[in-house]
Symmetry: C2
Subunit: 371 residues, 2 copies
């Protein structure tokens, strides 16, 4: 039986990356050591690190006045490090809350500054994103933070907002490298690696040079962007293996046709799934059509019993890790770059079968709508 992994992160990796990873566990480039055993100050790691940086700069066409930092601690760690590094003498920041993770980011920022919620999807229960023309931006804000794709809610910005002179800062963890983006529109963006850039334990920060230089005095040395930029991210031992895997991922994306091709595939994959959801009568996706995520498709079945039956049957068919985020419940299918169209097709076939076998479910909706 073929098995397909729809996990939200850590998530599926491409077979060629796993094969190359195996080579990294042996005699790496004749050094007599595995990649996990090489000193981070030596030539072997310098090459791995430099290649990962170059590949990423090429993939995203990152301008020369942006630094790429390779850190630890996950995107959640950055929720604290952003205000520590980016307030630059100001005492406030704008946050746009569009779901679970942007809410957490705002909560963390309150430890270090005044937070202005410039816009919130709470009125729609995070099934829509307020039009940015209606945002209440604070011109005195040090930056404006958004989460481009909400992993738990299945909501994704379809276009970037214009925040004027206030630098746009974005958590791009779940749609990082799934489509082309114009880096010049951001002051900073960041992503933890375990979705589209390899394995957990690495966080990528891309930041404009002119935002550096004014960390808060309480900023930990290993999370001081300025110091990290000066030291090529090597303030202390970097997560060598995770950097290696990220480099393999960057090269794999390039070899598959780059971000344009990833975007085409990801749109196609998501369209297949939203189609079966909308036609089924059994599955419900509450997210407004224009902000439906192309990477995390979140939906519900009429009740918990049916959702459990769905998850059980899917697992039996080799369709793995479809359970929704604990904060949102329901079902979630994550379609990062390494999830093939074949995998999505298998999921679609299963979902049609399951809907046909559970046609009585339409009953539930009637009951629901009658209260």
């Amino acid at each position: 039986m073929d098995r397909y992994n729809f996990a939200a992160g850590p998530a599926a990796l491409p077979s060629p990356v796993l094969e190359a990873a195996k080579a990294g566990l042996s005699n790496w480039k004749g050094s007599g050591q595995s990649v996990m055993e090489i000193p981070f100050t030596g030539d072997e790691f310098a090459e791995i690190h430099q290649e990962a940086l170059s590949s990423l700069r090429l993939l995203l066409d990152i301008p020369s006045d942006y630094h790429i930092l390779f850190l630890q601690g996950g995107a959640y760690g950055q929720f604290s490090m952003l205000p520590m590094n980016l307030l630059r003498g100001k005492d406030r920041a704008d946050y746009v809350v569009t779901g679970h993770w942007s809410r957490r980011a705002a909560d963390e920022a309150r430890k270090y500054c005044s937070v202005n919620i410039a816009a919130s999807g709470s009125a729609s229960r995070y099934t829509d994103i307020p039009d940015w023309a209606d945002w209440s931006l604070d011109p005195q804000a040090a930056y404006c933070h958004i989460t481009t794709n909400e992993t738990a809610d299945g909501v994704q910005f379809s276009a970037l907002p214009d925040t004027g002179p206030v630098p746009l800062v974005a958590d791009v963890t779940s749609d990082f490298l799934t489509q082309p983006v114009d880096i010049k529109l951001f002051g900073a963006l960041y992503a933890s690696a375990q979705k589209n850039a390899g394995t957990a334990g690495l966080t990528v920060v891309i930041i404009k040079e002119r935002l550096l230089g004014q960390p808060l005095p309480i900023t930990p040395a290993v999370f001081d962007y300025t110091r990290l930029a000066k030291n090529a991210s090597k303030v202390n031992t970097p997560p060598v293996w995770s950097v290696f895997i990220a480099g393999l991922m960057f090269k794999w994306i390039q070899s598959e046709g780059g971000l344009e091709e990833m975007a085409v595939r990801n749109r196609r994959k998501a369209a297949m799934l939203y189609e079966v959801i909308d036609e089924s009568g059994l599955y419900r996706c509450a997210v407004a059509e224009k902000v439906r995520s192309s990477v995390n498709v979140c939906f519900h079945l009429p009740d918990q019993d049916l959702e459990n039956a769905f998850l059980f049957s899917a697992q039996q068919r080799g369709l793995l890790n479809l359970k929704g985020h604990s904060a949102s419940g329901g079902i979630r299918a994550s379609f990062y770059n390494a999830v093939s169209e074949e995998a999505v097709a298998a999921l679609v076939v299963f979902m049609r079968d399951f809907a046909a076998e559970n046609s009585r479910a339409s009953y539930y909706y009637v009951r629901d709508s009658n209260g």
Copy 2:
């Protein structure tokens, strides 16, 4: 040619661990996924995580009122997180400075509290550790911090100090799991993994329950020990692969005879090297005999040219990564658990050969001592 890795970290891993790691890149326990691809909230990772915890608790005989936390950010990250989490309403902490890393730890702590240098090896240029009876401990200190082994300086505590009611907190990164320790003597101890516990990207913190509960308001969520302890270290995605490798290391140590056996081997390995240093006339180890490190043997040759020749010839003989830390210079041979006695024997043979071939070097010492 056999090759031996004497790197200070990332460092050599045992072959059985590398073999088991390879299995982790394939179909892990029939799950259809590699360990890098499994959700951190699922059963597969729960088992990996729990086994690593149990193995470590067994190895170190960790009492039940101590939590084990698996974090990111390295020991250097903990230099900030310690005061954030452990001040508990106090405004000061004691630091004992015995070399490069304890100095850095004290520097970071000054961002959050008043630091009392209770003792310093600076008068001996960090070649000795002041007797703890002479330390100027502050009874109002929230904790007293030591670095049990200085990786860059080759200095190691031969016995633990008695800090009375002030909790002893220790960076044990480089001698973690190289010998038995009595956990009950510590309030907290921590180690980054890339020396004796696997691969970079994981930091282990072992902390007494009663020290939890009073983090500073500025403590980042993912570094809040109290929150981490409540959430089994899973406040956000843990470094899944590094936890897996650490678990393999813990089991390997147990299978080799545990910490008593590691201590015997490590003492034997270090004794072999210090013997050739002391007998040679060419090599100089400045560290006082009673505090010589059993894991990082640091020494010099008479001049930089000879040190370069030594490093070049060693490399030719397959003896890798012997260059000293950039802050200390000279030569450093690191003998963590995975470095075999065979590897140390090969180094000893080479060092005797090199000394014989460079006997003129004794001339340098005569010149040196005459000014």
